[in-house]
């Protein structure tokens, strides 16, 4: 947690230069104007930046960064501000650079199966534009309506289709990016095959705005699957649901969707979305697949049968696309729906090897009980990616300490199982304390050398991702 008051590191001369670059209307300086940019979707972290710029083209981005390197002030790139690791919080002051005004879709090519977009286009806008041409943009983070494509790249966002389709990194073909020193580079290309040079596209993917500012993204698209089918299975416990997931994957079925909610999540989601979910079930497994009609039908049959064998209380199928969409929408809003339970909602993102999912769920329950915290868990079962979420009232004595202590145990338990401290939400400022345990000192040192090769003055999102 950190709350930092303003550092006021920018001189009047620097502010005047910034205004000259982006235009006075796109530079925010007053306390009130920068306050909305003091936080993102991460609870408990906030810090007012000294200024905010909203550039409208790559040249402005480049000029601001060159100035920052010269004058030595931090620049924090920001897209939709939906990340959950305090990645856009200006802990060390400086300038938040908002990319949401660069929001044009430049191209959707059916011939080349790709799209070229500016950084501030939202994931949903890209997916909708692709769908209008019969194409699929596969990465599907729960935050798709608010998150930006460049934000997705910078966090390597996952989503609800990870098992079959992978995550953002599998779809980024090329980037235009501005180095902290101001040079504009193009990594990758429009080609699926291109091995000229180090894979800087992948290096920038997941770099959390610490290496370069992304100003254009070229992504791969797929043909739109003919149909989508979704079903719901209810179990007595999350462990049973975990067993079902292991069996399904053991069958050699690779479904598009395998998501789960525990009892608390079911109730929170039902409170907000009113879908008639079984509030008494211990766990809900949302399974789905896409593709040709016959494939989807067989795939759903096999998954439903497996759930039955494992002892599901009930298995139902969505009747049509509308019902399917409603179920997916409900799953996407699990986190905010849980927020109804208490003022503070802390969500985690551990990932374990798939077969150990049920064991990890049990461990989380035990840890939560030991620390007397209210914990709800949902996640991407197909990816072994769990989002244990602790809700508490900050006025309730040491509730926050108990939550933090519980999560510390959860991280170590995940690592003990061969898992990781974050599957898709990233390190940012929030997960820093566990980075060395996850990566080791040698790798951390290398990471810092990479950082300084890109950013000699250390101005780009300093302090995030161990930089």
């Amino acid at each position: 947690m950190s709350t930092v008051e303003r550092t006021h590191t920018l001189t009047d001369a620097v502010l005047a230069e910034l205004a000259g670059i982006v235009g006075p209307a796109n530079l925010l300086v007053s306390d009130g104007d920068v306050e909305p940019y003091a936080r993102d979707a991460t609870p408990l972290f906030r810090a007012r930046p000294d200024a905010v710029v909203l550039p409208t083209d790559t040249a402005q981005v480049s000029a601001v960064l060159a100035l920052a390197t010269r004058a030595g002030f931090p620049v924090i790139p920001r897209g939709g501000g939906s990340n959950l690791a305090a990645m856009t919080v200006a802990e060390r002051g400086g300038v938040v650079m908002v990319l949401t005004r660069m929001n044009q879709i430049r191209e959707i090519s059916s011939d080349e199966l790709l799209a070229v977009v500016q950084p501030g286009v939202t994931t949903a806008e890209l997916a909708d534009a692709a769908a209008a041409k019969g194409l699929l943009y596969a990465p599907d983070p729960g935050s798709r309506t608010v998150s930006t494509v460049a934000g997705n790249v910078a966090t390597c966002a996952g989503g609800l289709r990870g098992l079959k389709y992978g995550v953002t990194r599998n779809y980024v073909l090329g980037l235009e990016a501005v180095l902290p020193t101001g040079e504009v580079i193009r990594t990758g290309s429009r080609l699926w095959k291109d091995v000229a040079g180090y894979d800087l596209t992948r290096l920038l993917t997941g770099s959390e705005g610490t290496l370069a500012v992304i100003t254009e993204v070229t992504v791969a698209l797929l043909p739109m699957p003919a149909t989508v089918g979704t079903g719901v299975a209810y179990f007595d416990s999350l462990a049973d649901a975990g067993t079902a997931v292991a069996r399904i994957i053991g069958l050699g079925v690779l479904p598009a969707t395998l998501e789960f909610l525990d009892n608390r999540c079911i109730n929170a989601v039902e409170d907000s979305n009113h879908l008639g979910l079984d509030r008494t079930a211990g766990a809900l497994l949302l399974f789905g697949d896409d593709g040709p009609d016959t494939h989807v039908a067989t795939s759903l049959d096999r998954m439903a049968a497996t759930c039955d064998v494992v002892g599901a209380r009930a298995v139902t199928r969505a009747r049509d696309v509308v019902e399917s969409d409603a179920l997916m929408a409900a799953r996407r809003c699990s986190l905010p729906a849980l927020a109804r339970l208490a003022p503070i909602t802390m969500l985690e993102d551990v990932t374990v090897p798939r077969p150990l999912l049920a064991r990890m769920v049990d461990t989380i329950d035990t840890i939560a009980a030991q620390h007397h915290v209210v914990c709800a868990t949902f996640g991407h079962a197909g990816d072994g990616n769990l989002h244990p979420t602790i809700v508490f009232d900050p006025h309730d004595g040491d509730a926050r300490h108990r939550a933090e202590a519980a999560f510390d145990k959860v991280f170590h338990a995940a690592m003990d199982l061969g898992g990781t401290i974050t599957g898709e939400h990233g390190i940012g400022a929030a997960k820093r304390p566990w980075m060395a345990a996850r990566l080791g000192e040698d790798q951390l040192a290398l990471l810092r050398r990479v950082k300084s090769a890109f950013d000699p003055a250390g101005i780009l999102n300093p302090g995030k991702l161990g930089s």
Binding site: S2, G81, A405, F411
Partner: protein
């Protein structure tokens, strides 16, 4: 996104960000209801549906950004005079689209009322907001205006045997008197009455920083019209429902659908609306308060489809920029918001655009006229009365 591990935890720290005192349990000034303000988790799901965010792509003019500003006001991080607070409290349309998509159940409409109550006191009240509050207070003047322009004739004290009491909105009875008359033509005599001496419901006060007065007015109206109140304006309806309870208020489209399905004999013979010898193409401009405040969205579409080809406009459900008194307070922003809707109407080549709220009705009439559109704005009641062959010639306003 948890924070530093608690003391004694084994995680090694790679950097040492200073953890200064938290402001999650700060002193509060009591401007906002704490439970309402705490409900937002800053997920940002509301950003894409917010018309002012869509115009600016600037967090300051997003629902989440405004809630962050409210929190800063509440905890004293920003003071009352802060220009951004003043600006954003007034730039917000109050359309509550943000509420309709918020998974955490944030009651933004109430937060906005509390914000404006505080922000628009004394010298900070926008002069036109004051005028709006005052202008609708004078019941006799409104009644007189309505009578001159022939709104539905008032029928004395509320009759206990009426299924519902038709409410004559202040602006509506003066500006668009045919709306209430059309309603009476759609129902058998006696089903609804039109009680005399109706005052203002207070909706405009609620939007303009006088929510206490707004509540009193609604309660008074509720006493004068005991039982179910039937309204032809989403704005009035949502406000009345929030004060008197949802079950006391029925909006025209939901009322007609329900009444006609329970009493099939009562449904007038609805003919087809035709233009140039073909079935008319008709779109809808929803009312934000009807949709987001009362949760009524489908019935108007269903009714239009009974009498014409219904054309769904992409922005049918989002604010047209009229927003109570907004078009008067912030005419330029109001027109920027409106433009998207006008462009869509042109692209769809509509014959009529149906409205379900009086201020939207006026906004669309003005906008369509200025853009020399061939499309006419028509209130749902007028459209249906026309289909029932019982309209008066002046419905094509």
């Amino acid at each position: 996104m948890s924070a530093e591990p608690s003391s004694g935890a084994a995680a090694p720290a790679t950097t040492t960000p200073p953890p200064p005192p938290t402001d999650e349990t700060p002193t509060r000034r009591g401007i906002f209801d704490p439970a309402l303000l705490d409900a937002c988790i800053s997920c940002g799901f509301c950003l894409p549906v917010c018309p002012t965010y869509t115009l600016t792509h600037d967090e300051r003019s997003s629902p989440r950004g405004r809630i962050t500003l409210m929190r800063a006001l509440e905890t004293g991080r920003l003071d009352d005079d802060d220009p951004t607070l003043q600006e954003q409290a007034s730039f917000c349309l109050g359309c509550r689209a943000c509420e309709s998509v918020c998974p955490a159940g944030v009651q933004y409409g109430h937060l906005l009322e509390q914000w404006r109550d505080h922000q628009w006191r004394g010298r900070h009240v926008p002069p036109i907001a004051l005028a709006a509050r005052a202008g609708v207070r004078v019941t006799p003047a409104i009644t007189a205006a309505g009578r001159l322009r022939r709104a539905a004739r008032q029928t004395g004290a509320a009759r206990p045997d009426a299924t519902a009491h038709l409410m004559l909105g202040c602006a509506e009875r003066a500006l668009f008197p045919t709306i209430s008359r059309s309603v009476l033509r759609l129902l058998p005599p006696g089903v609804v009455d039109v009680p005399s001496g109706q005052g203002c419901c207070g909706a405009l006060h609620a939007h303009n920083g006088a929510s206490h007065e707004a509540e009193t007015l609604a309660e008074e109206l509720g006493r004068r019209m005991p039982g179910t109140i039937l309204t032809t304006a989403g704005g009035c309806g949502a406000h009345l429902a929030s004060v008197l309870g949802r079950q006391r208020v029925q909006e025209l489209s939901e009322f007609l659908l329900a009444y006609w399905s329970e009493h099939p004999d009562a449904e007038p013979d609805l003919g087809e609306i035709r233009v140039d010898g073909r079935r008319a193409r008709i779109g809808l401009q929803e009312s934000c308060h009807l949709r987001n405040g009362m949760g009524v969205s489908a019935p108007a579409r269903e009714l239009i489809a009974r009498v014409a080809d219904y054309v769904e406009l992409p922005s049918a459900g989002s604010c047209c920029g009229s927003a109570g008194t907004y078009s008067v307070l912030r005419p330029q922003d109001s027109r920027r918001v409106l433009q998207t809707h006008l462009d869509e109407v042109e692209a769809a080549d509509l014959d009529y655009l149906v409205t379900v709220n009086v201020v939207c009705h006026r906004q669309m009439i003005g906008g369509l006229r200025r853009s020399r559109s061939r499309t006419r704005a028509i209130h749902l009641a007028e459209l249906l009365a026309q289909a029932a062959g019982r309209s008066t010639p002046d419905t094509r306003d």
